[in-house]
Symmetry: C2
């Protein structure tokens, strides 16, 4: 059978062969990959999981293996509700929705909100996974300008005045791909703008807890609670393999997300949700998080120091206080072309163009990950890239 003849019209938008090629080569032996977005496996709480397994089986018995509620495992909804209080977000359990990674929250949001041709405002550049989640619903993307301090409020205001926007999607802390964080002053202005336009903002915050220096900044959710769907995940503070993402929103939105999720996967893994609720309630998250930060902080410093030493002075790069990524602007250098040269020298990264919704943008940008590579290797990789840049015309 020729499956191509049977594909839905949306399928071609879902195909991303370019980025696939980029990632296909990073498994090559000897490769130092700054390309991925993976946490370090050594940051995962293996011994704690062993304990949690015993606690969960003893506490819940066979019932923990049964079908569960679409909205999420009740004890985890409750635990997450408490968990986000530290981020100045007030909610009740009924505002919490849990799904198969925050990716699945974004998919379900796209499904309930986007009709073909609807306009979705996104940062330029923006998180690739969000585009992959929204693309099947065939939105039109409207870009909001950003600078070193993240999203520019005036640009957002302009976009909302000019276009009928279904929702705005942004990553507020240590954005993927740029590592940039929106300042508190800007958050206040963004909150004011979305309230004035009665606009819906999806605030994605997967990296907020990974702060190595400076102080936490309150989420926009805490400033304009009625206009924001706050999305986060336990993938960076517990274990990504367990696929636990969540959102905090109005009960209306929880209702529609639930309708959507019922058709999408009925509910997410209950056993893993039980592990997660014990991880939070038992105080393990609180004691384990500093250990994760202790692994990442020196890696991030190693990367920033090496960039200073090895990259051309005319380059501009972000100096994030946390997260997983550094963003480099490489004026005059086509980073996709350069990629294949770098790969020959056993170094991989992601050419920045993949994070833009408009063709031709970001050709001279790149994303570097520092969480899943040890310091010495980061230094070696940045040195190799620096030499390649020097050699390039």
């Amino acid at each position: 059978m020729d499956i191509k003849k049977l594909l839905a019209s949306r399928a071609k938008i879902m195909d991303s062969p370019g980025i696939g090629e980029i990632f296909r080569v990073i498994g090559k032996p000897g490769m130092i990959s700054l390309a991925g977005g993976l946490p370090a496996a050594e940051s995962f709480p293996l011994e704690i999981i062993d304990k949690l397994n015993k606690i969960v089986l003893e506490k819940y018995g066979r019932t923990i293996l049964q079908y569960g509620q679409t909205e999420g495992f009740p004890p985890l909804r409750k635990a997450l509700c408490e968990y986000v209080k530290k981020r100045s977000i007030s909610s009740s359990e009924e505002n919490v929705f849990i799904s198969t990674g925050s990716q699945s929250i974004l998919d379900n949001l796209g499904k309930i909100l986007i009709s073909k041709g609807d306009k979705v405002a996104v940062e330029a550049p923006t998180y690739l996974g969000a585009l992959q989640a929204f693309n099947p619903y065939e939105p039109e993307y409207i870009k909001v300008e950003t600078d070193d301090e993240g999203l520019i409020p005036e640009s957002l205001n302009e976009v909302l005045e000019k276009h009928k926007i279904k929702f705005i999607y942004i990553v507020t802390n240590f954005q993927n791909p740029t590592g940039r964080t929106i300042s508190f002053e800007r958050r206040i202005r963004i909150a004011e703008i979305i309230e004035r336009h009665d606009a819906l903002l999806v605030e994605d915050d997967p990296y907020g807890e990974l702060r190595y220096t400076g102080s936490h900044i309150k989420p926009i959710k805490s400033l304009a609670p009625n206009n924001v769907i706050y999305v986060s995940t336990l993938s960076k503070v517990f274990a990504p393999g367990l696929r636990i993402g969540f959102s905090i929103s109005s009960k209306d939105i929880v209702y529609w997300l639930t309708q959507s999720k019922q058709g999408a996967d009925l509910h997410s893994d209950i056993y893993s949700q039980a592990l997660a609720s014990e991880y939070i309630n038992g105080g393990y998250l609180e004691t384990h998080l500093p250990k994760i930060l202790a692994i990442y902080k020196p890696r991030q410093m190693a990367m920033l120091d090496s960039l200073e030493k090895n990259f051309p002075k005319k380059f501009n790069w972000s100096r994030p206080e946390g997260g997983m990524f550094v963003w480099v602007e490489t004026p005059g250098i086509d980073t996709e072309k350069m990629y294949w040269e770098a790969v020959k020298e056993n170094v991989a990264y992601v050419p920045g163009k993949f994070f833009f919704t408009e063709k031709g943008e970001g050709l001279d940008t790149m994303r570097l990950n520092f969480t899943n590579v040890k310091e010495e290797k980061i230094e070696a990789a940045i040195k190799i890239l620096g030499e390649l840049f020097l050699k390039s015309p």
Copy 2:
């Protein structure tokens, strides 16, 4: 904010308040629910899970908590490939796709195949969860007639001659909701028909392993391998809470399912996939399955015996050799109206109309589940229903 103003046009099709009302009351204390489709919690291999937890943590260490492959955890893909051999399905690991319950396989299939208005052929009645998975993609359903032996091949042939069908969706063994199984003779004819029309068939087989009497019948996948996507799950033979569904299809389809799943949830829980692969490879599934069957067989007999004793002779019901459901045709009785009478007497079931795609069909039908209720309670519930039927005009 008024979320209703922001909803996508597809949202209204995803809303199913009717069935929600039916299920809302089944948690009432004292209720005997024949309404759900749950396995019995006492059938779950709790002690085995305890063992598997240790095996998995020891074997894989921290890596099992990391992000994983979208297509599925490689050792589980391999194990499932061997597992379906017993069902006469030959495949290689690359034909196996794993997702968050078979519900999520259906969602991803809908996403890659259905454009708005595309025709999907389904049995009448059909599995409600499949409709919930496909509805967001706005297909038009074309019904294929069924009788006591399941789908009628001549009706399928007619549908394929008259309509341009994207794919056909059927449940071959102990169908949900009817409990009916398509005979081997019919499967041969269906295989011949779909091959002749070069049509794509989605063969959903969640219940095939739950056979209490009679012999297993080869799936249509084994008869027309190129035209069939075979979908199954470990929810009925391992643990539904762990959400492991899978499909066997051409590599082309695996490619597109992977593109879709990348946007939908990146990948399914890796830890649970590791538990499942050890469950299969360690021979646990094989030794545990008879214990599950030993729980369900007497329940099914109790239900069939009670129906014989208590239900009006003019009623017609299925006499499945396995699965979880019995389907009852109740000429002259509106089963939805009757539902609220039954609930007053503490008995719940599902009125059959919810399993039909056309309004006004199946008003005098009902689905009864026997797996999650003990024999005495099944007998008591059927007696109560029988008395209600006698009293009704």
